[in-house]
């Protein structure tokens, strides 16, 4: 296959736009890790689960399909906090392995329920209306680069969600509590902050972000399938590791990067090999840059 430079740039653009959903998922992982120093492996499952609930509810009650994008994230928030109560809240707080195993259990539990309810087959997911038909072309020194309208919308919506998150974290009393708990849990309690309450809220916020990502990802592909869960989990983890565990800007940058690179791998090596190279990235980072881009931020005193 003869790949020209412009094809690579074009794949990179598509990938970076789509990668904003990975950035959202990575943010969710990093938020929860920042709050509890624990990985919530069930996170992508609850995100996709939320999208499924949104789809199911909208179809069942014949709501306008645009409501999926509101019901989905809310449902994902609820699922996420359920995961917190089942896999984190009542386990010994210093036993990180127990929470990890419990949340892996949560991942497969949600995944199996989805497979069971849908007989394992993919469902049509509504596309993004007029955005799906829109297509922009820009001429850039003799190259014509295309921008898919739905992917632009995906990135725009993801960025709005991120801005909302940053506002919550840095401008509200709730955000102050979240940051306080993540930096110094004992002192946070001594300031009158309830750790369990703050953690629940962190899970809800992360869940809603994941639900938005899940809906956007499904909408830009046009289908939703239980097969989305594992790749999204792994890519969320890769993004979190590359960005540096607990780093917000790291997750955003790494998300876009993973999206872009994945798309280029797809172009160069085809769909069967794509993920192999993405996973290789994970190993490269773990060996050569285990703290990711901004990992130092999570160092504690």
């Amino acid at each position: 296959m003869n790949v020209e430079f412009i094809d690579i740039v074009q794949s990179l653009i598509d990938g970076v736009l789509y990668g904003s959903t990975y950035a959202l998922i990575g943010l969710g992982f990093t938020l929860i890790f920042g709050a509890m120093e624990k990985l919530n492996m069930a996170y992508a499952a609850s995100s996709i689960g939320g999208a499924y609930v949104g789809l199911g509810v909208s179809v069942l009650f014949s709501f306008p399909l645009v409501l999926i994008f509101f019901i989905g994230p809310i449902a994902a928030g609820v699922l996420s906090v359920l995961v917190y109560f089942c896999c984190f809240r009542y386990l010994p707080s210093n036993n990180h392995l127990a929470a990890l195993m419990a949340s892996i259990g949560g991942l497969f539990f949600i995944d199996e329920i989805i497979s069971h309810e849908t007989d394992g087959s993919p469902l049509d997911f509504p596309e993004l209306g007029i955005f799906s038909e829109a297509y922009f072309e820009i001429e850039f020194s003799d190259m014509f680069l295309g921008f898919r309208g739905d992917l632009i919308f995906v990135m725009f919506a993801s960025f709005v969600a991120m801005l909302f998150l940053l506002y919550l974290l840095y401008r509200t009393r709730l955000g102050l509590a979240t940051r306080a708990v993540s930096q110094q849990p004992i002192a946070a309690q001594l300031c009158g902050i309830s750790i369990h309450q703050t953690n629940s809220i962190t899970f809800i916020i992360a869940g809603v972000l994941g639900g938005i990502a899940g809906c956007l990802a499904a909408a830009s592909v046009g289908v939703i399938s239980p097969l989305l869960v594992l790749p999204l989990t792994v890519k969320g983890l890769i993004v979190t590791v590359m960005g540096g565990l607990g780093s917000i800007r790291g997750a955003i940058i790494a998300g876009l990067l993973v999206g872009g690179l994945e798309s280029v791998f797809l172009l160069l090596r085809g769909v069967n090999e794509r993920d192999i190279y993405v996973f290789l990235l994970l190993f490269i980072f773990l060996v050569f840059k285990p703290n990711g881009f901004f990992g130092a931020e999570i160092d504690r005193d």
Binding site: A177, Q183, A187, A188, Q189, L190, C191, G192
Partner: protein
Amino acid sequence: MLKVDDLVTSYGLIKALRNVSLEAEKGKLTCILGPNGAGKSTLLFTIAGILKSDRGSIQFLGRQISKMKTSEIVKEGLVLVPENRLVFPHLSVRENLLAGAFSRFSRKDEVEEDVESVYQRFPILKERYLQEAGTLSGGEQQMLAVARALMARPKLLLMDEPSVGLAPKIVNTIFEIIKTLSEEGISIVLVEQNAVKASAIADHIYLLDQGEITFSGSPDEIEDNDIIKRAYLGDITES
């Protein structure tokens, strides 16, 4: 004001506190002295609700608080300044103070007023209000930890070894601050290893050793008790 009765706290099988009883009076500075590992921090953590007791009662302003959560205890007005300060390292000085006011559902301007009054008490914190707390010196962090606790408008302030790990000159400053707070009428329970300095400002002293209260009395009574004086105050006071 604070009445601890027959308190037992353990880590697994090891009893860190054995039937501890003590009282702190309103407006007074009560001091708990004891060597390393005597259970002093365990005692304060149990009172503040971070650790749960096995047995015994803790009454604060007539209410039983031994089963309450820490966040509820803080709302009652009992606030602990923890050992090693435990400031939020990546929050700014100002955000640390705002976090301290978390328990108060009061209006914003009231919290702002308190921030201002804390700045007046500790001008260095005003100078550094945008700086990350982790970059402050040990003494400044201790001031911030005290200031953060004051933001909760405590009725009783528990202080766990505020002088630990600080240079002698800074230790003097910290004890000046404690003395001033006490003179302003704030009730304080102070846990210290620096027996000489602590007993100089205390109204009442308890000695805690291996989880048990071994002495209770005024600083003068310690002066009169040769054995305890030698064990805890050393020979410095005699020279």
